[in-house]
Amino acid sequence: MAKLVEIRGLKVEAKTDANRRIEIVKGIDLDIAPGEIVALIGESGSGKTTIALTVMGYTRTGCSISGGSVTVDGQDVVRMTEQQRSKLRGAVVSYVPQSAALAFNPAKAIMDQVIEVTQIHGIMPAEEARQRAIELFRALSLPNPETIGERYPHQVSGGQLQRLAAAMALIANPKVVIFDEPTTALDVTTQIEVLRAFKDVMRRAGAAAIYVSHDLAVVAQLADRIAVLRNGEVQEMGETVQILEQARHPYTRELIAAFEPHRAPVVLNDIDGRRPLLSVENVVAGYGRSKISSSLLVKAVDDVSLELYRGRNLGIVGESGCGKSTLARAISGILPAASGHIIFDGRELGSGYKERTAQQKREMQIVFQYADAALNPAKSIDEILGRPLAFYHGLTGEAQSKRINALLDMVRLPTSLRGRRPGELSGGQKQRVNFARALAAEPKLIICDEVTSALDTVVGAAVIDLLRELQHELALSYIFISHDLSVVQAICDKIIVMYRGKAVEELAVENMTQPQHPYTQLLFSSVPKLDPNWLDSLAMDRPVVTA
């Protein structure tokens, strides 16, 4: 049977800052049969999006196709003129973007944009296009399918917008649909709905698809075949089940291993039975002050209490907007709590960091999600680590230099990095420097606010390993905040689930398979597993959480 898409020896070059040309896609061969869903899996920089876009003959600014052929439905896109490619785009090959919010014109109604493709290619009259669009909205389980098109993009939620983008891609009955990480920006619970809708509608339309993602579990639900990419080359390719269960290439195996970071056998240190290291009691924190009552306008954290003992780890999970980051800021003093008590090592802390003693500030450190924003780009690693050493411990000169080497060693970084600036390091290295800086203070508690969320899965797993080792060596305690359940599970003894500012459940990690609270059950069941049948077998009557 003739292949719908045939990619042979595809090479894409990019121009760097220095005007050098480097190859970002190094000779790819790929086939897609009609009606088949092929996934391109890889970390950032692997070239997956670039490859997907070439199927439309499109490259982002600065990039160009330098070799090979991409044959779509019998025609080589690489050799086409721009005008011929325009005829192809939207009609034969269409695109669902990563961020639907950006892809819609804020000044036009949704329906106009969804049917625009049919107007461009003259496929069907406007009225017919509108009817078709409404059918698609219904098939994608959108609320109010008849009227949702009249709205503007900013009046619709993220998950809905993503599905509308899919409708926009399917309306012209294309033969291939390119999905570019469409659920990456969505919450886990929203993601389920969207994935289901996609799967459904693709089945009915019978179109082929290229699904680009870094998330193996998501891709396992949809794809017939998976291609694993790294640095612009295909590492392995095969049927979904085969890749998941009998991966041959070491990189694939590593990806699968990183997906579920294993939990080392827990060695529980003796609890300092007298008192917890940190005790948070009925903390309320948020933003804005109402003029009428002196209460907060937005209660991001609403009456939360927790306890953490020395040598143990506490995880805080929840989706975006649940208040977990605000809680971290309240505990660390960046955002003073409006009410409640925070007791650290036996003494009550002032609500803001300005009211805390130097020692209290030193013993509680916080590490943030984006290492780029957390390291001063104008300073060298030496200066970044040297300052806290001088500030907290008065270390200078030779003593400081030795200690910097020791810190870098603790986070498994080579001392040759000392003279570099943050801009010259990779994401994982920067995050380790972040930790080194926190360790420079010799703290008792480190609050980790989504520290692996911006990192590639493999790199993030390595950071988790590092944290575990450090805990054994230094008797540290962590509060680990994340939206990613598997990461939290790998490192914490106790987990608190937050929803809309409240702590809805507290679980010991052994009991994680038996959540009691309906929201927790919803959350846990929404995390995609590496099982292709998981999505389909999801119980239709999942618990619904009311406000």
């Binding site: 990019a14 760097t16 800052d17 220095a18 050098r20 480097i22 970002i24 970390e43 920089g45 990039c63 590593e254 660390s332 003093g333 960046i334 960091y353 130097a358 500030k361 916080i366 943030f368 984006y370 924003a373 957390a374 390291l375 001063n376 780009p377 104008a378 300073k379 300052r387 806290p388 500030f391 907290y392 498994r412 801009g423 010259e424 390091l425 990779s426 994982g428 290295q429 800086r437 203070a441 590639d456 493999v458 790199v459 390595a462 390993d465 590092l466």
Partner: protein, 282 residues
């Protein structure tokens, strides 16, 4: 075992130099030297009438022709450079120093200090610059110190706004939060954490502001309200010799060209600064 994607580059950053930018720099340096060593370079004493003809053409004796009284234009322009560049440099240094210091402090301190200062400086910048200059000169005259202070005051709000906008972005970064959590004092945060990150754009802004000041000063002198005779900056030279315009006399054209070379050179240099190259594989 840690598997890291290898660090993107092990190279020290190199600089890529653009020829156009260097041309601009050369012209700027040229004029700075002329301004600094003026008296030694001018072939004729400045006030003396040396030519029989007035509005004389460019000739071997008078490289740039003669002015409306018969004085040598080359000497006049060389001396004019001292006024134009001297006043402008003094004013821009004052304006940008004030603006940057205030802008950084407002961004880091926040609160009422920031609000009050921003409102006040915003109101000040709501007055068109030429107008403000006219009004001030009408009140206090136009001696050199007055001109310098006035120009500095007119352009401080712009420098403040620019520096503050940069600093506010920096102040929102997590590394500033971490410095604050550590207990660092505000002075340290401003000088050690914020300033190194904004110094590049700030210097660029300084260059732009220098151009605005040169243009405003020349305009004022052209109206007769800037540098007063017998001293003359380049704008004043155009004013003196304006009657030569119907004859296309060099005396009226050349000072304008001098101004243009200076301002365009600064623009060229700023637009084509040597760029740090960081080689990153995409």
């Amino acid at each position: 075992m840690t598997l890291e994607t290898p660090s993107t580059t092990r190279r020290r950053p190199r600089y890529q130099i653009k020829l156009v930018g260097m041309l601009g720099l050369a012209i700027i340096v040229f004029w700075l030297i002329v301004a600094a060593f003026g008296p030694h370079l001018a072939p004729y004493p400045i006030g003396e009438i040396v030519d029989q003809d007035y509005f004389g053409p460019m000739s071997r004796d008078f490289w740039l022709g003669s002015d409306y009284l018969g004085r040598d234009m080359l000497s006049r322009i060389v001396y004019g450079a001292r006024y134009t560049l001297g006043i402008s440099l003094a004013a821009v240094t004052m304006a940008c120093t004030c603006g940057v210091v205030l802008g950084m402090s407002a961004a880091v301190a926040g609160g009422w200090f920031d609000s009050v200062l921003s409102r006040f400086l915003d109101a000040m910048s709501s007055i068109p610059s030429k107008l403000f200059a006219l009004v001030v000169v009408s009140a206090v005259g136009s001696s050199i110190p007055v001109l310098i202070f006035m120009l500095a005051i007119i352009y401080t709000p712009g420098s403040y706004r620019f520096a503050r906008a940069l600093a506010v972005n920096i102040a929102a970064m997590d590394y500033i939060t971490i410095a604050r959590l550590r207990g660092e004092k505000m002075f340290h945060i401003i000088t050690a954490e914020v300033l190194p990150n904004i110094i590049g754009p700030v210097l660029t802004d300084l260059g732009l502001r220098f151009v605005f000041i040169v243009l405003l000063l020349s305009g004022m002198s052209f109206l007769g309200l800037g540098v007063q005779p017998p001293a003359a900056d380049w704008g004043g030279l155009v004013r003196e010799n304006i009657d030569g315009l119907p004859f296309a006399a060099p005396a009226v054209i050349l000072p304008s060209i001098a101004i243009a070379t200076l301002t365009i050179a600064v623009n060229l240099f700023i637009d084509n600064l040597p760029v740090k190259i960081r080689d990153r594989s995409e």
